[in-house]
């Protein structure tokens, strides 16, 4: 256990823990657009930068991304110093120039009093902020169906060869975790369509409620040894079936106790 100070308050942490985790645990906030707990910190959006220094650095200060900075003893952190705010505002101006119509970016910028970007808006803006949460989650889940293609300013999220991705199981994790809802999909309970690929949904035979896509279930059966029949019913029907099964046991024990008392 070590002690570090954040905005003057002493807090406890493990040596090497990420600074953002320690901050969040103690109620300190910092915007972190490209951060998602399901995957390793990325350090792409640079919005979570904070100012750090140490007594032995004799006044020298540094800006670091808190999502990736490993804390060490007697670290002094300023989460809203003047340099931090200036950096954060400039990054927000840059993001607003790239995504001028994206609600989440406009809201975050408004928190810092920014309405319009002071830089020139890009030609065809869209809602993708290239935080790579979608591609990293897809990798973490073992599918790696989509990835970041091209390099630099023209970078974008895309399925391979711009064709429907062969490895996609239609789990929607990319679309559901995209901070700006940029990834489009349709899901009408019968079929699901994403990245130009259509998936058949497994549905509960009694209630007709959809559960997950057939491809996804097959993947889980093959790679995570989940017996195929588990996917035969929706959760509601599973609960009913469980109640009746345990009911049989309860009924049997009830007769036993009656017989013993008699």
């Amino acid at each position: 256990m070590i002690n570090i100070s954040i905005n003057g308050r002493l807090v406890q942490a493990e040596e090497g823990e990420f600074l953002l985790t320690v901050m969040k645990r103690n109620g300190f906030k910092a915007p972190a657009l490209c951060h998602h707990e399901a995957v390793e910190p990325y350090g792409g959006c640079r919005l979570c930068m904070v100012e750090i220094s140490k007594p032995q650095w004799k006044g020298w200060k540094d800006l670091v991304v808190s999502c990736l900075y490993p804390v060490s003893a007697d670290l002094e952190v300023q989460t809203d110093s003047e340099a931090v705010i200036q950096e954060r505002k400039t990054v927000l101006h840059l993001l607003l120039a790239r995504n001028p119509h994206t609600k989440e970016i406009k809201d975050l910028a408004a928190e810092y009093g920014i309405v319009r970007s002071k830089y020139q808006e890009v030609a065809e803006p869209d809602d993708c902020i290239l935080c790579a949460i979608c591609t990293r989650i897809c990798d973490a889940m073992g599918f790696s169906a989509i990835s970041l293609v091209n390099r630099g300013h023209g970078r974008e999220v895309a399925p391979p060869l711009n064709e429907p991705p062969p490895d996609c199981t239609g789990c929607l994790a990319c679309a559901l975790n995209c901070p700006t809802n940029y990834i489009k999909y349709t899901d009408n309970g019968m079929t699901r369509e994403i990245w130009g690929k259509t998936f058949e949904m497994l549905r509960d035979p009694q209630t007709g409620m959809p559960t997950i896509t057939r491809v996804f279930a097959e993947y889980l059966t093959k790679h995570r040894e989940i017996p195929e029949e588990y996917f035969g019913l929706g959760d509601e029907s599973h609960r009913k079936r469980t109640a009746r099964n345990f009911g049989k046991i309860a009924a049997w024990t009830r007769e036993e106790t009656v017989r013993e008392e008699a």
Binding site: L68, A83, E87, L94, R151
Partner: protein
């Protein structure tokens, strides 16, 4: 890399220091047998000027004359002397007669006069552009005289891909000494004492890096050589990898022995095919001689090197991106709060040094730290190789002791500015460096003073600019390069450099106002502080250094919509003046047929069609076109 199993190879395999010494004497005798050796430079530059045909012509001519083997059989295809502009170069040893711009048709005369007898042919001699003197001997040429070559020691002196030549000049003595006389810690101590700082541009002491890596507990350590050399305008590493590949391998072996690595990689950029060829041959030869693979020189040290070819990405010069590229992934850097000496390639402790750093290592081990620190200046020992290019008379590869001033380099070695135009600036450190004005000419060139002056040592590109270069245009050029090379991972670099580039274009096109200057400076500061890797952190340096030393030019573009150097196309107009002799050269050169006029009559430039590309000025021999 399986061992060559053929018997002949087995016999050549050396398994002890004694064998190495025996081999050295054999190969030295082999070379000394010839009273004269002809060194033909076969670096990329000279090959482009026809050096290969030269070598064939030499062999053919010698066979026709049946000059016996022992007299002058040794035609050596050497590495790049660094003086490519004067190529193809031929040096006749032992006297070092230096012939420039040699063509195949000159071969018979050279053989007859300079080889069969000792005559020197005047017309091939190097003429010093400053005083017109003809200089005979290689060592006397001003370009080479002021140089001190450690990293480039063997360039032009040994056949580029001959392990025999390398061993003959003392090659692999250093690894032999390290393996048999020094412990890994003593090797590190020697390199630390020598204060050999990273020649890739960062200047981080190699000894300290090796020690940190060695102290990390892991089942595998790696040693990597950074041959990406992405800086435009720099080609030191190319010449070393082409001309002296074995020195690179030996340096890596010593590093591997020091940190306990069994596997090494050389990362070579895709634009250097010849370097890949020569390095691969050198690796294969080492396997044959038993200098790579299992139990090198009979010790329990085993090491193997594999070439990883880059594929065209400047960002892969950055350490963590390079390691991703070696692992076959996209070259996207990672935040380095945990340095790659602790967790690098595939998560293992990895030492990454530049080509030039590694070729210094054998010399440090052989001659010792005390000798090495006697060269160079305080806290910057040894020498540094530069590629002196741009508007300087003698362009090429040079190596000078640390602390040599810019003036000595540009004027003593470079012999001043092309066509005697006034010096304006010198750019060092590649896209991450800065432009230094005339007032900084007496700045000693070493890591610390360059950084203090707002530039950077970088890998060693040194681009000289004259008054016809617009500094705002230079900043725009570097930004365009960096925007196209940014990996696109982090916002300050991907978006920040893009916006800086747009704003600089606006300045060049006269669309900018006063407030833009302030916006550029403020954004530059944030990009430097907030970017993830070196590309972004140093990307704004060209802008910041040109604003610091040439602010008047930026203001001229903004306030008066004028480009003092006459480069920015939107702000200049080309007009034919009275000196025009009607020679039609510019009409043919103009790709937009914006110039009309009859032969021998003064020509006329139509402003509506003229794109201000400057082709006419380039071809006009009568200085008849004004740029305003």
């Amino acid at each position: 890399m399986t061992e060559a199993t053929t018997t002949t190879a087995a016999t050549r395999k050396i398994t002890s220091v004694k064998d190495l010494e025996k081999l050295r004497r054999e190969h030295k005798a082999e070379n000394d047998k010839y009273p004269k050796q002809v060194m033909v430079c076969c670096g990329t530059g000279c090959l482009a000027n026809g050096a290969a045909q030269l070598v064939e012509a030499f062999h053919k001519a010698l066979d026709e004359r049946e000059i016996k083997d022992f007299e002058v059989k040794a035609i050596k295809e050497t590495g790049c002397h660094g003086f490519c502009e004067q190529g193809p170069l031929v040096v006749i040893e032992p006297k070092g007669i230096f012939y420039t711009k040699v063509k195949p048709r000159d071969i018979p005369e050279i053989i007859e006069k300079s080889i069969e007898s000792d005559e020197v042919i005047e017309k091939h001699l190097y003429v010093d552009p400053r005083d017109g003197k003809k200089i005979e001997c290689y060592g006397e040429v001003s370009f080479f005289k002021h140089q001190e070559r450690i990293a480039l020691r063997n360039l032009g002196k040994i056949a580029a891909h001959s392990i025999g030549d390398y061993i003959a000049v003392g090659g692999y003595q250093a690894i032999a000494k390290a393996l048999t006389k020094l412990t890994p810690d003593e090797v590190i101590e020697e390199v630390d004492q020598a204060n050999l700082r990273g020649r890739g541009g960062g200047g981080f002491p190699a000894g300290r890096k090796w020690r940190t890596c060695r102290d990390v507990e892991a089942d595998e350590h790696f040693v990597i050589c950074n041959g990406d050399e992405g800086d435009p305008g720099a080609f030191m590493d190319r010449s070393i990898m082409e001309g002296d590949p074995h020195a690179v391998l030996e340096g890596m072996m010593i590093a591997a022995y020091a940190v306990g690595a069994r596997r090494g990689f050389i990362y070579v950029r895709e634009e250097y095919p010849l370097a890949v060829l020569h390095l691969q041959k050198a690796i294969d030869d080492c396997h044959e001689y038993g200098l790579l693979g299992e139990n090198i020189l009979g010790t329990d040290f085993s090491f193997d090197i594999r070439i990883a070819r880059g594929a065209g990405a400047f960002v892969c010069g950055e350490s963590s991106a390079l390691m991703k590229s070696v692992a076959g992934l996209v070259g996207e850097p990672r935040e380095k709060y945990i340095r790659s000496v602790i967790k690098g390639l595939w998560g293992k402790p990895t030492v990454l040094n530049n080509v030039e750093t590694y070729v210094n290592v054998p010399v440090v081990i052989n001659k010792g730290a005390k000798w090495f620190t006697s060269i160079g200046c305080e806290n910057n020992s040894g020498t540094k190789a530069f590629s002196l290019v741009g508007k300087v008379r003698n362009t090429g590869l040079i190596e000078v002791a640390m602390g040599t001033t810019l003036r000595e380099i540009i004027y003593d070695i470079g012999r001043g500015i092309l066509n005697d135009r006034p010096f304006k600036a010198v750019q060092t450190g590649g896209p991450s460096g800065g432009c230094l004005p005339e007032s900084m000419l007496d700045l000693p060139v070493d890591f610390d003073s360059l950084t203090k002056a707002g530039s950077m040592m970088g890998s060693g590109g040194m681009i000289v600019m004259d008054d016809r270069t617009c500094m705002v245009d230079v900043a725009r050029y570097f930004l365009q390069f960096l925007v196209s090379e940014s990996c696109g991972k982090c916002v300050p670099c991907r978006e920040g450099l893009y916006q800086l580039h747009q704003m600089t274009i606006a300045v060049c096109e006269g669309r900018a106002e006063e407030s833009d200057l302030e916006k550029i400076e403020e954004l530059s500061d944030v990009v430097v502080k907030a970017s993830l890797c070196g590309l972004g952190k140093s990307g704004p340096n060209p802008v910041l250094s040109t604003l610091r030393y040439f602010r008047d030019e930026w203001e001229a573009h903004i306030r008066e919509k004028r480009c003092p150097a006459g480069v920015c196309r939107e702000l200049i107009t080309y007009t034919v003046n009275e000196k025009c002799t009607g020679c039609v050269a510019c009409i043919t050169a103009c790709a937009y047929n914006a110039i009309t006029g009859e032969k021998k009559q003064p020509h006329f430039i139509h402003q509506d069609r003229c794109t201000k590309c400057g082709a006419c000025v380039a071809v006009c021999r009568y200085d008849a076109i004004d740029v305003a």
